[in-house]
């Protein structure tokens, strides 16, 4: 592993951390709303959130490139706000990854909220808890496994992101060249030995993350019994 590889590893961890924190902040209210609402919009919003699960990353990357470009409404908005254009920047990758990893965070949290049911919140209400404090002192603690799964999956999925980054990143060292792009470059340049270091590392990392997740679930089930 050389400096460029280490730079890619550091950048990827930074990106995944920022995206996970942002997704917990943005995803929680969305998950809460999706879990409790009876609105007819529920289907629509749920479908939009789940889109990245089925869309090829190139579709998402291509539209982000158009929308965030100088002719797109997103690009005109960020320029008007004085932020400049987002493609080829770290904030641009963050925005793209938030979209891309959204379902992996929202869905586990939503499932956890739904599993709580009405009862504990009604009980909290009869004890004169405001909806706000019921949310924090009843719903969030009960949904903790969902938050944990969401955070782990969101982080891991962002680490594994490739297609979207390739489309809007521009492969800039220390700014947008994440591990997956670095591996791809090594393979394309026929530097298979260097590719193996990073690719093998990713394989081990992904396995450990999933192992942690599944043993967590197993333990959760044990406790419930």
């Amino acid at each position: 592993m050389d400096m460029a590889d280490l730079g890619a590893v550091w950048l990827t961890l930074k990106l995944a951390s920022v995206v996970t924190v942002l997704l917990l902040l943005i995803g929680t209210p969305i998950a809460w709303w999706l879990a409790r609402t009876r609105s007819r919009l529920k289907g629509v919003i749920g479908a939009v959130v789940a889109l990245p699960l089925v869309l090829p990353p190139t579709v998402l990357g291509f539209y982000l490139l158009l929308v965030l470009g100088p002719q797109g409404w997103g690009g005109q908005l960020t320029e008007a706000l004085g932020l400049g254009l987002l493609p080829f920047t770290f904030p641009g990758l963050v925005v793209a990854s938030v979209f891309y990893s959204m379902p992996f965070v929202v869905q586990p949290i939503q499932n956890a909220f739904e599993a709580i049911g009405e009862r504990p919140l009604e009980v909290a209400a009869t004890l004169r808890a405001s909806p706000w404090s019921a949310f924090w002192s009843v719903a969030v603690p009960l949904a903790r496994p969902g938050f944990l799964s969401g955070a782990i999956l969101g982080f891991a999925h962002t680490v594994g992101e490739f297609g979207v980054v390739l489309m809007i990143g521009g492969n800039i060292p220390d700014k947008t060249r994440v591990i997956s792009v670095q591996i791809y470059d090594h393979v394309e340049a026929l530097e298979y030995a260097q590719a193996h270091w990073l690719a093998g590392g990713m394989l081990v990392f992904s396995f450990v993350v999933l192992l942690a997740l599944y043993s967590l679930k197993q333990r959760g089930k044990g406790e419930a019994r």
Binding site: L65, G69, Q71, P87, F88, I168, G170, N171
Partner: protein, 254 residues
């Protein structure tokens, strides 16, 4: 009743058979084509099919990726690379038909912007450096990227421009960065912005050929296509006057 129940399996079986048959039809030829040669190859393939009845099945992509696929048993029979090194390497590894390597086109580099007035006729814009992003193909893996770096280094602007670099995985993606306006300008293949003597809208500078090593693009008949008439016919067709005229009309040298 019984007959009705049989209908679906029979139909499925027939479908499978016909799919299997069309797959082994002798006059198809699997072709791997460098991304920069996409447009001319589509046209050549159409003419080839009209003239010979053989049907080329085209895959477009990065040359390095095709190399990895071919060495690992991909079913390609003819390969049109974006450089001359990759075909030479395949030849050394005995993965091509003997003596089948030839140069089918010489690529030209152009500095292009989708906007009018950004690129001037002398490439002075590179010295002024009044832009945020300059797109090029990744020089580590794409021959047009290597040529772009060589030209900038000869002009003495390489180090000052390096912070503005955004790199496409191949020349098509580089074009996309510029065409969508996300990069103000960049180095692409002339073939991407040139057709029938006319440049695409925007502004461009033809990089003088003494600033970079000629981008020789070689084609080979791969070992898998050695004994297939359709494959050898296509390799020959690429050398025909008709194909050469098409290749030139997209701005390649020959």
């Amino acid at each position: 009743m019984i007959r009705k129940n049989f209908r679906l399996p029979v139909a499925l079986f027939a479908l499978l058979c016909s799919a299997g048959l069309s797959h082994v039809k002798a006059d198809e030829v699997q072709v791997a084509v460098a991304a920069n040669f996409t447009a001319p190859m589509r046209k050549i393939a159409a003419e080839f099919e009209k003239d010979t009845g053989h049907k080329p099945v085209l895959s477009f992509g990065a040359t390095g990726k095709f190399y990895a696929q071919i060495t690992n048993g991909a079913p390609f029979e003819v390969f049109l690379a974006a450089d001359d090194e990759t075909p030479a390497r395949l030849e050394k590894e005995l993965l091509i038909a003997p003596h089948s390597r030839f140069t089918y086109a010489i690529g030209k580099l152009v500095l292009w912007s989708a906007k009018d007035g950004v690129v001037d006729g002398n490439g002075e814009v590179l010295k002024k450096g009044a832009f945020k992003h300059l797109a090029l193909a990744n020089p580590k893996i794409a021959s047009y990227g290597t040529a772009a770096v060589e030209a900038m280094s000869k002009l003495g602007v390489l180090e000052s421009l390096r912070p503005c670099f955004v790199q496409g995985d191949n020349i098509t993606q580089t074009y996309q960065f510029i065409a969508t306006g996300n990069a103000e300008l960049g180095f692409v293949a002339l073939s991407q912005v040139y057709k029938d003597g006319k440049l695409a809208p925007g502004s461009a500078w033809m990089v003088p050929s003494l600033l970079y090593t000629p981008i020789r693009q070689d084609a080979v008949l791969l070992a898998k296509g050695r004994n297939k008439p359709a494959a050898t016919a296509l390799a020959d067709y690429l050398k025909s006057d008709k194909a050469k005229a098409i290749i030139k009309s997209y701005g390649y040298d020959l």
